[in-house]
């Protein structure tokens, strides 16, 4: 494992903004897609 602490993990060796920006957008997209699909499915 490359991380000694949580802060190190979040910093991603100085690339935190790029790495987490990628995963955050992906998570947001999947979340919205699933929510959108669930919305009218119970009707």
């Amino acid at each position: 494992m490359s991380w000694g602490s949580l802060n190190e993990f979040l910093a991603m060796g100085g690339y935190g903004l790029y790495v987490w920006g990628s995963y955050a957008m992906a998570a947001l997209c999947f979340l919205l897609e699933v929510l959108f699909l669930k919305m009218n499915s119970t009707k």
Binding site: W3, M12, G13, Y15, Y18, S22, F30, V34
Partner: protein, 242 residues
């Protein structure tokens, strides 16, 4: 036997039973993939930690192209055989394909900045992937603009088939042109040029993306079937039983 399920009323309950399985598979594979990607795979010698974007970027890019081929395949099948479910299947895939294409571009931009010094460059790989996004959006818009579902399926199919020309262009863009985007690290012709744990994380995430795509596509397909055949008696019966 398999053709029994080609009718929407037969496929609808089967799809409903399959969704949770694929959703759970996707979740488990994503957890495994992220664990390997962030806690097992080592720091890259040249790119440092920024390379960890690969675990979402490459699966998203693969799915964007793969889903387009599946979508165009279903659309073409519908055009030839005139089966109702095919056009619905193509419609169900398109939004998920568009999302993965957007994510491939977004994560690529965030990876490009620290590695190339720019978010965007009009090189062949990036441009053809952007065209793929427009093809998905065009397909969705075109089908949405035509009220008659059968005519919409046919028009959408023609667009999807013509647009499939873009797929080999995306794949070979890094070979045919001198692009800023690197060539393939994985190809059917030779062994991968990656550390095994990096490769494992990437493949697990690719499988997760695949299972996720199946789950959401089936869910959307059921929605489309309900919308299109909502008046039919069998839909009413399903509604009361499920």
């Amino acid at each position: 036997m398999i053709f029994n399920y080609a009718a929407p009323q037969a496929f609808y309950p089967v799809a409903g039973k399959m969704i949770p399985w694929f959703a759970w598979l996707a979740a488990l594979l994503a957890i495994a993939g992220l664990t390997v990607g962030f806690f097992v795979a080592p720091t890259d010698a040249t790119q440092g930690e920024s390379y960890r974007i690969i675990f979402i970027h490459v699966p998203a890019a693969w799915m964007s192209v793969f889903l387009y081929l599946v979508m165009a395949g279903w659309a073409a099948l519908g055009l030839v055989l005139n089966t109702r479910l095919s056009g619905m299947m193509a419609s169900a895939i398109a939004p998920t394909g568009a999302i993965f294409t957007f994510l491939a571009l977004w994560t690529g931009a965030l990876w490009g900045k620290p590695t190339w010094g720019t978010y965007w460059v009009w090189d062949a790989r990036l441009t053809s992937e952007l065209i793929l996004l427009f093809l998905y959006l065009g397909f969705i818009a075109l089908k949405g603009a035509i009220a008659d579902p059968q005519r919409a399926d046919r028009a959408g199919a023609v667009l999807a088939i013509v647009g499939a020309v873009n797929v080999p262009i995306i794949y070979f863009s890094v070979v045919w042109w001198n692009t800023l985007h690197q060539g393939a690290s994985i190809s059917p012709m030779r062994s991968p040029t990656m550390v095994a744990t990096m490769l494992t994380g990437m493949l697990l995430m690719a499988l997760a993306a695949w299972m996720y795509s199946i789950a959401v596509t089936l869910a959307r397909l059921r929605k489309i079937i309900r919308m299109r055949e909502g008046d039919a008696a069998w839909v009413q019966m399903q509604r009361n039983s499920v």
